[in-house]
Subunit: 335 residues, 2 copies
Amino acid sequence: MTTTPDPFLDPVLDPVLDPVARRDIDTAAARIAGDVRVTPLLTLGGAALGLDPSLTLLLKLEQLQVGGSFKARGMFNRLRAQAERGALPAAGAIVASGGNAGIAVAAAARALGVACEVFVPELASAAKRAALVALGARVTVGGATYADALQAARQRQHETGALWMHAYDQPEVVAGAGTLAREFEQQAGGLPDRLLVSVGGGGLVAGIAAWCASRCWIDALEPVGAPTLHAARAAGAPVDVAVSGLAADALGARRLGDIAWAVSQQHVQAVHLLADAAIAEAQALLWRELRLLVEPAAALPLAALRQGVVRPAPGERVGLVICGANLALKDLELP
Amino acid sequence: MTTTPDPFLDPVLDPVLDPVARRDIDTAAARIAGDVRVTPLLTLGGAALGLDPSLTLLLKLEQLQVGGSFKARGMFNRLRAQAERGALPAAGAIVASGGNAGIAVAAAARALGVACEVFVPELASAAKRAALVALGARVTVGGATYADALQAARQRQHETGALWMHAYDQPEVVAGAGTLAREFEQQAGGLPDRLLVSVGGGGLVAGIAAWCASRCWIDALEPVGAPTLHAARAAGAPVDVAVSGLAADALGARRLGDIAWAVSQQHVQAVHLLADAAIAEAQALLWRELRLLVEPAAALPLAALRQGVVRPAPGERVGLVICGANLALKDLELP
């Protein structure tokens, strides 16, 4: 989320010269097998969600993952890999996050029995702070905005030497996310014709695209209010974007990750923007028709199909990554 | 739910002399394969829910079924079977229900293109009535209580000749429910050591027990406020019980079905009662740890394990039937 190179990025691999390879994802899958859940695949005809009945929809229910989102895959992979190298500091792990990444780092650190510090902005809800504390994390309010929290966390990391965990732009984080696609392929007996994936900083789509390696069509989906990949493609490189809107909590990265940029240029076939109203409609439909309660970020794949932004050919097998469900029930307003 | 024989029960099979057989469940599975969903199985270690880590938990996510509960299996089976016999009246189907059975009948009738009348008591929420109307059902408020609605529905059935759909005590309804256990066995590569199932009128446990036929241990679970099977065992036959409490909406039948009585005497190894507080704790835990939002009735299996009411041996494979998620988000209060 900064414009300068990040000295805390993994020092072993160069994210530009050595993008995540399928063997890294195989390694990650073996490494985290005991930590994460094999999340179920729900298979439906298109009619179940008011779409072309000839479609087969394959919903990867990743909101059932440890910590309520796909993030656990990457965070466990990074922590376990560091532990294997004997490079896990006594101070444990540190992250700046008010959302899914923080929860996943806290859950992973707890499982490995190491300390975890999470720096959150003041606007992080009391419920989220309580969830982090329940996972054993030390939670510090690092200022008014996310940028403040990030700065405070970096200062703290310099003092303690804790392992810096980036929310999406570290090779092991991306490789961990890629295990979702590997698992999908095993469960479905092959890749689908098309995979629909939400994008924030791009860690998830990068991992999935690295695994699929153009063996299936990937539609990357962004809210209008957080168009990191769209803006990067328009500018020819990752650029800062203003962030707002319904799904900003989970997809509101300020800038696409360098790894996501490198991988997506090769293996992401299309990028689409979705309005908040379309995302909200899809989120409500997932509850009403399927009894899946998910966060807005997880509703973009269905929104893209419902809006006709993505138009599969008749008979296609379409994979939808349902990426998370970290929302506060009391704040919920579904039609 | 009456003490006298019900003339609307299926006239072909005698529920006492000819209890549901495994071949009936095979037939049902083939018959409804195009109508219902194969619901996913989520496999977890016991530690994920604060239980003995040596346990393997197999959660059958049946709340993802058409209509939000297992009921669709039985209702589709009965309607399709009647259609096969050429015995589906022009007036369609009729049911008295303010809950999951009514939703399932309405969904099945819509899919078959036949009319559906649902009689509900005044206390049925506006949200549930709206859901039934959205499924194309004609909804009639049949009086103050469920008994009034039942009486009004029977009167109407005499007038129209519509197919009477019992919520749980008809052979095809039970055989349809049994397809859940058949599907579980296929998905898990065998039956678990133990299956935990909630009981209201007993249609679900009867179908599951008929399929398992004592090949695995079945724990039947009831809320303290709706102990139909417990009371039947104490009395030596089904008897009316007073109904109250958290899960009464889904499990609040007044009396165990005759089919459930016959089958459960052979193939249900234990019956346990659970307090509302234990059910509520388990419901909250399913959301907090797994992001599964379910109705109270679906939380009894986890409640039984959490409370130590059911104590599996170390290393057991334990099946939990997560039977439904028809709840109103706006009424929800989870800790």
